[in-house]
Point group: C2
Chain length 253, copies 2
């Protein structure tokens, strides 16, 4: 399978590595910034380009992994290709590519950082396509990558993207805030790491609503008052403390 990778960010990088590892022929890597394209092309035995006009029209699969607001610009230059063009955005409908013959979406429901390798067996792939043949190609890609695969339409993909903001982006920010608290009082974030792991592990087998712990779910007002006193010099954290405690209490009424 001849693949062109359009983008060189976190998603593009990890997808390119994974496809390459599974035997795909990564013929081109495009990036607006040629330095980035060269870097990724080097490690995936590919060719770097930074001009959209240079994209090879004879690839089987074009993976667009650029910022959401750049998808339409990029797709303009793919109007004449016969291969399957997919974007990888959770928040963008399939219609963004409707001017193209064969198009679809390959949305990896995972968080990627360049520094950390990822096993695609742990990356649910949400797929959608403009026709049956294209859908089959995406299923094949998922099977090659050993990824769990889900057919998800654009409406539902938006919801998953939103749920991921709560389950990942907001969660990571709470890790940041807990780090800020321990740092502020000269304690070590290291001590919190087993707790963070266990909290995530627990909901792999239990529903989170059934394993809620802490002062808010116990309605332990005295502890909550003391916590807010400790946060008196951090008003922003105090607001978050109040908002989330209120929501926990309401959920577990």
């Amino acid at each position: 399978m001849k693949v062109v990778c359009i983008g060189s960010g976190n998603v593009a990088t990890h997808l390119a590595y994974a496809l390459k590892a599974k035997g795909a022929d990564l013929i081109q890597i495009w990036s607006r910034d040629i330095t980035n394209a060269i870097e990724l092309a080097k490690t995936t035995d590919s060719t770097a380009i930074s001009d959209l006009k240079e994209i090879d029209p004879l690839a089987d699969l074009y993976v667009i992994a650029v910022k959401d607001d750049a998808i339409s610009t990029v797709s303009e230059s793919l109007k004449d290709v016969n291969g399957l063009v997919v974007h990888t955005s959770g928040a963008t409908a399939i219609d963004a590519l409707s001017a193209l013959k064969n198009h679809g979406v390959l949305y990896p429901l995972q968080t990627f950082s360049k520094a950390k390798p990822i096993d695609f067996a742990n990356v649910p792939l949400c797929i959608e396509a403009s026709n049956t043949a294209s859908l089959e190609i995406l299923k094949e890609v998922a099977i090659k990558l050993s990824s769990p695969v889900y057919e998800v339409n654009s409406e539902k993909r938006k919801i998953l993207h939103l749920a991921a903001v709560f389950a990942c982006n907001f969660v990571n920010h709470l890790y940041t805030l807990s780090d800020k608290i321990v740092e502020h009082f000269e304690l070590d974030f290291e001590m919190l790491k087993p707790l963070i792991m266990e909290t995530a592990l627990k909901v792999q087998t239990e529903l989170p609503i059934n394993v809620q712990t802490g002062p808010a779910v116990r309605n332990d007002e005295q502890t909550m008052i003391k916590h807010q006193e400790l946060l008196s010099s951090m008003p922003e954290l105090k607001e978050i403390y109040q908002t989330l405690s209120k929501s926990i209490k309401k959920t577990h009424l």
Copy 2:
């Protein structure tokens, strides 16, 4: 080592199991509710009691693992023992036990659910004691359990407890809310599990502030507006979305 376990909740249960497994002699389990005491005593080869006056005065270690506001009542009945009496509360100062000869704190910085077994090698134990001999006993207990051990005074323990509310209790509530979102739109929470694991795994090696992703840190206003529209029928989640997004933007200015 003869141990009396006072309490039969999540912390008491897991500590009792772990101590028993490492060869401690669990002579008594006390619970206000004898049924609970019997249940835990059965699996730890111990004797169930529900009258505080029945507590054996000749144990080496008394572990108080009851609700914070019951610690002082329970400790009243331990005034004449020579053994070491510890409580397990993050939010309670060591002074709560100051009327006792040998006293201390053994605070496990972890989340416990009865349903899920836990390896104490992943449970940081925060210890504090009224004298050196008592501190040595707590260090021995930690070594027996293979737990990482930290000497933490009451002031700092309070802070850790607060940080744990952010890193565990609030995080679990965000999992609950993401489940609520997917359920509301007839999607499966199962799909979010690899993302939840990866988010927790990432901060085992990276600082959370360095791996923040999502629309708020990118200042992607368009996506944030769309997300809030999707939450229009869930005003409480919308408020949390706004509060946390604001905090992410401020943190990453």
